[in-house]
């Protein structure tokens, strides 16, 4: 059962061949047996999951089941879950049990899905390797052969690893600079970052408000579509959430791709790209041509400025978003603060990890008097140029395709000595967040025995087209079905 997709499991449940309780037990047992190696879960909610599964079975018996009823999944530990620890991978929130749900959480509850637990992540979503979590690094199920442990990517490393290891068929995730797409690529799973404003951010712990977006991760495009049906939609509690009808993303998965115009941004195919990686991506593009798509070269002239702009804007917004963590109303508080200043400075020094502190300091600096114009304001202007690049490109083509990462999963510890080396992991994914357009990562092959992904970028609110393109590709390839060793 654990090899089945959400769509398949839903059918199994519906046929009565298995109950949700049985299914939930199977996954929980797998987590207990296997997760020690991966550390993909921070919290497993065994009792609650079984209770929810039982309720789901009762719903089914009463004829009230729908597609997600009784299907197990997991939440990235960044979504607030009422009564269940929500740590954001940080010591600062290690003891935080919110008395409220994120909107995304509430949506899955209403859909009848069974949450198995909260997945591990880079602390406060800041990272590309899931090595900064207070709860320990996550190990990629891929590449374990020679005794090396590789990173699953980040920040949604736990979700990606758990899916790849078949501990859960689907998991929610978030993407601010690539945090869904990059781990999806490194773990050989399928992930989607929706258009900014498509999914409510209420209850999704904020890193960089104008970049963060909740999204989907599973093994197949179809499953991602099923997830997005639950997650997308207007929420009056989020001012940046768009009031726009949500289509049934599964309804258009099988549209033929004939005539799909694909653009390959030349800046993403420069000589910095390794030949092996380029080969896999071009192979994938060839499959699309076989399916009837046309391909041309396009340009995103300001793409090379994306990382610089991001590493001003994201830390700046984060520096303000994380000011609320002060030991007063919830979360970690240092022992015996001797005065107010000690309370603040020691709580935050002890509660935050190194990368988080670095980014808060950079962000504070970028906003400070004398530097605001040169950094923050400048970055916002460059952001508009980058957005314009995408708008222009989409005047010529329907989707863009590119690599997701410069290389496959690297070994733990390889990039932690220099923050900037880690930042460069996001070179292909980051511009997308600055523009706010949707993008997916689809398993597209292997380099050195490790999975690599194809990035498909769409125009605003064209998630249905992306999912359709990914689904059609997955009908003629089976990269997404490969099992780690």
């Amino acid at each position: 059962m654990h090899n089945k997709s959400v769509a398949e499991l839903s059918r199994e449940l519906e046929s009565g061949k298995i109950s949700s309780v049985e299914l939930t037990h199977e996954f929980l047992d797998r987590i207990k047996a296997e997760d020690r190696q991966y550390n993909s879960f921070i919290t497993v909610t065994e009792d609650q999951a079984l209770a929810d599964a039982k309720t789901a079975d009762e719903q089914r018996a009463a004829g009230k089941a729908s597609v997600w009823t009784g299907v197990p999944f997991a939440h990235k530990d960044i979504f607030c879950t009422n009564g269940v620890a929500t740590t954001c991978g940080s010591k600062m929130l290690a003891n935080f049990v919110p008395p409220y749900d994120a909107t995304v959480t509430a949506n899955f509850r209403a859909a009848g899905a069974v949450c198995l637990g909260k997945t591990n992540m880079d602390e406060f979503a800041m990272g590309s390797s899931n090595e900064s979590s207070f709860f320990g690094a996550v190990t990629n199920p891929w590449g374990l052969g020679n005794g090396e442990k590789r990173v699953p990517g980040g920040s949604s490393g736990g979700s990606a690893a758990a899916i790849a290891a078949r501990l859960v068929p689907a998991a929610t995730a978030t993407d601010t600079g690539g945090s869904i797409r990059q781990p999806a690529a490194l773990c050989g799973v399928t992930g989607l970052k929706p258009t900014y404003g498509r999914v409510s951010r209420y209850g999704m712990i904020a890193f960089a408000s104008s970049l963060d977006q909740g999204g989907t991760m599973a093994r197949t495009a179809e499953d991602n579509a099923l997830m997005l049906n639950v997650m997308a939609g207007f929420d009056p509690k989020d001012s940046t959430c768009v009031d726009r009808a949500v289509p049934d993303y599964t309804a258009t998965l099988n549209e033929p791709l004939k005539g799909l115009r694909i653009g390959l941004p030349k800046e993403y195919f420069s000589d910095q790209l390794s030949p092996a990686m380029e080969q896999q991506v071009r192979n994938a593009v060839k499959e699309y041509e076989k399916l009837g798509a046309t391909v041309k070269e396009v340009s995103l002239p300001h793409a090379k400025l994306a990382i610089a702009a991001y590493y001003v804007i994201a830390p700046a917004e984060a520096s303000a978003n994380l000011s609320r963590f002060d030991g007063v109303r919830y979360g970690y508080r240092c022992d015996n603060p001797k005065d107010l200043n000690d309370l603040y400075t020691r709580t935050r020094a002890e509660g935050f990890g190194g990368e988080v502190k670095r980014r808060i300091l950079v962000g504070t600096y970028a906003l400070s008097a004398g530097y605001f114009d040169a950094y923050y304001l400048k970055a916002q202007k460059v952001r508009r140029l980058i957005q314009q690049d995408f708008v222009n490109a989409f005047n010529e083509v329907d989707v863009l395709m590119s690599p997701v990462t410069p290389s496959p999963a690297f070994v733990q510890g390889e990039k932690t000595s220099d923050p900037v080396t880690m930042y460069l992991e996001d070179v292909f994914t980051i511009a997308v967040n600055l523009a706010g357009v949707p993008a997916m990562s689809v398993p597209a092959g292997f380099v050195d025995g490790l999975p690599v992904g194809l990035q498909i970028i769409g125009n605003y609110f064209e998630e249905a087209r992306l999912l359709n393109a990914a689904h059609q590709y997955q009908q003629v390839t089976d990269w997404h079905q490969k099992l780690p060793q």
Binding site: F79, C80, T86, C88, L93, F96, P98, Y100, A102, R201, Y202, G203, M204, I205, A206, A208, S209, S210, P236, K237, D238, S239, T240, A316, E317, S319, A320, S323, R324, D326, V328, R329, Y330, L340, Y344, T364, L367, S368, A369, F372, Y376
Partner: protein, 483 residues
């Protein structure tokens, strides 16, 4: 050395909305601590702000009332600093694109002149919570009920040059926000808080001096005292050759002392940037017109109308039109008769004096405008004399009866105005006072003559049992005495 005083005010006005500016929590005063603090107000992780439409409506109403431009596209910014009553570690406010632009308020001064005080802008922001320092064993207790209450902060240009002007402006502003209904005006509850920026410059100089800010004055009396105190403090320093340090100060009204606030302001770089959780707020014509429709008659409009409609002079018109409730009382009084000037005299005179003596406001008065108006009508038509009227007023105030006529009847205060009867009385009294008559007629100085008339009034009032119409008596006397 002569000094010019330069004053600018920043006023925080709590808007009387039902809910907070960014959350649906109640703003009702007096609740138990932290019972009106939602997840958003507590800055719980993942929570987000959604702005209150009524706060914008009230802000636009204010802008219209002070002749200001309305910000058609306003933006919220984050002002970053750490303080326990500020849960997010930043205050959401407006910096470069506020909801209300430049405007002005005209104030009336004691000498009868009028002065224009310019408003630089007014913006919307959220209030912080409250800190309680007693009773917690070396700790401070934080109540976040108030955190998130909508405020408009009004910033004036440094156009005021004396405590009198500053207080006049403050009072006018208080009256304005109360009468247009956007604020409950209760300064004891902190609904309005004043910060005063003061600097001195050598008389006639164009260069402004260094200013200090005195924060959180919540009464007009304290404002006046604080200004006087700070002016003296600065003058002492400057005349000793010292420099004024730009700082924030707290004034203690009970002790008439001030001190510098512990480096809260100077050490802070607020790192303002537009709040990414909120989008720009666009105000269209329809919104502005609907806000305008909600505005009641403004004090300046009313004053002009009183002069025009009732023929009042500038001084009386101003005093009666400033406060909506007094104006309403006055108009009710005038409604009963035609003599607006007489009604004005009574409202501003006897009535106001009585309210002050009993520390009552007009809404607490035991008589209505109608009742006073009826009394005024009886004076105007000579039914009672002015001394009689005072007795009627007293009785009305004490609730002896609910209308003037009943009291006049009961106390027999009706004046005799029958000229025939009065003439007869004058003849009789004059006949009995031949020497005084002769003295009067021999007196050359008209002023002295006039005074002598008083001598006849006593006997005449006695003869008429106090009911003779003194005015008529006077006329008849003068005629009969001739001379």
């Amino acid at each position: 050395m002569q000094w010019d005083i330069v004053i600018g005010l920043e006023i925080h006005v709590q808007l009387a909305t039902k809910t907070k500016i960014f959350s649906g929590s109640s703003t009702a005063f007096g609740a138990e601590p932290n019972t009106q603090a939602s997840a958003v107000d507590l800055a719980m992780p993942g929570t987000l702000p959604v702005p209150n439409e009524q706060a914008f409506r009230y802000a636009v109403m204010f802008g219209l009332a002070v002749n200001a431009e309305i910000g058609r596209r306003s933006v919220f910014d984050r002002k970053n600093y750490f303080y326990p009553d500020l849960p997010k570690g930043y205050q959401t406010t407006q910096l470069d694109h506020p909801i209300v632009g430049p405007g002005f308020v005209d104030i009336d001064l004691e000498d009868g002149s009028s002065k224009r005080v310019r408003i630089h802008h007014a913006h919307l922001e959220e209030d912080a919570g409250k800190s309680l320092h007693e009773d917690f064993d070396g700790m401070t207790g934080i109540d976040l009920n108030r955190a998130g209450t909508p405020l408009i902060e009004i910033v004036t240009e440094p156009d005021m040059n004396s405590a009198e002007e500053a207080v006049a402006f403050a009072k006018k502003l208080h009256s304005l926000v109360s009468s247009i209904g956007i604020c409950d005006g209760d300064m004891s509850q902190g609904s309005l808080r004043f910060d005063v920026n003061i600097s001195l410059k050598p008389k006639g100089s164009d260069e402004l001096g260094t200013r200090t800010e005195t924060k959180n004055l919540n009464s007009f009396r304290f404002m006046e005292q604080a200004i006087a105190h700070e002016v003296e403090r600065q003058m002492d320093i400057l005349e000793d050759g010292g420099r004024i340090i730009q700082e924030t100060r707290l004034y203690n009204g009970d002790r008439d002392e001030s001190r510098s606030m512990r480096s809260k302001e100077e050490a802070n770089d607020y790192r303002y940037f537009p709040c990414p959780d909120l989008l720009p707020v666009v105000i269209d014509d329809a919104f502005i017109e609907s806000a305008r429709d909600l505005l009641p008659e403004l004090p300046d409009e009313r004053k002009a109308r009183f002069k025009e409609q009732y023929g009042l002079n500038d001084y009386d018109a101003r005093l009666l039109s400033d406060d909506a409730r007094i104006a309403a009382f006055f108009e009710e009084a005038v409604g009963q008769g035609k003599d607006a000037k007489l009604a004005a005299n009574w409202v501003l005179g006897e009535f106001s004096a009585r309210l002050n003596a009993e520390d009552k406001t007009v809404v607490q008065a035991p008589i209505t405008g109608s009742q006073l108006g009826q009394l005024v009508a009886r004076i105007a038509d000579n039914t009672v004399s002015s001394s009689g009227a005072k007795k009627v007023f007293e009785a009305l105030w004490n609730g002896d009866a609910d209308n003037a006529d009943a009291i006049i009847e009961a106390q027999g205060l009706k004046q005799v105005s029958d000229t025939g009867a009065l003439e007869q009385m004058v003849d009789e009294v004059l006949a009995g006072m031949p020497d005084q008559v002769a003295q009067y007629q021999e007196e050359a100085d008209p002023k002295k003559q006039k005074k002598m008339l008083g001598g006849f009034m006593g006997p005449l009032m006695k003869a008429s049992k106090g009911q003779g119409n003194p005015k008529l008596f006077n006329e008849i006397l003068v005629r009969k005495l001739g001379g």
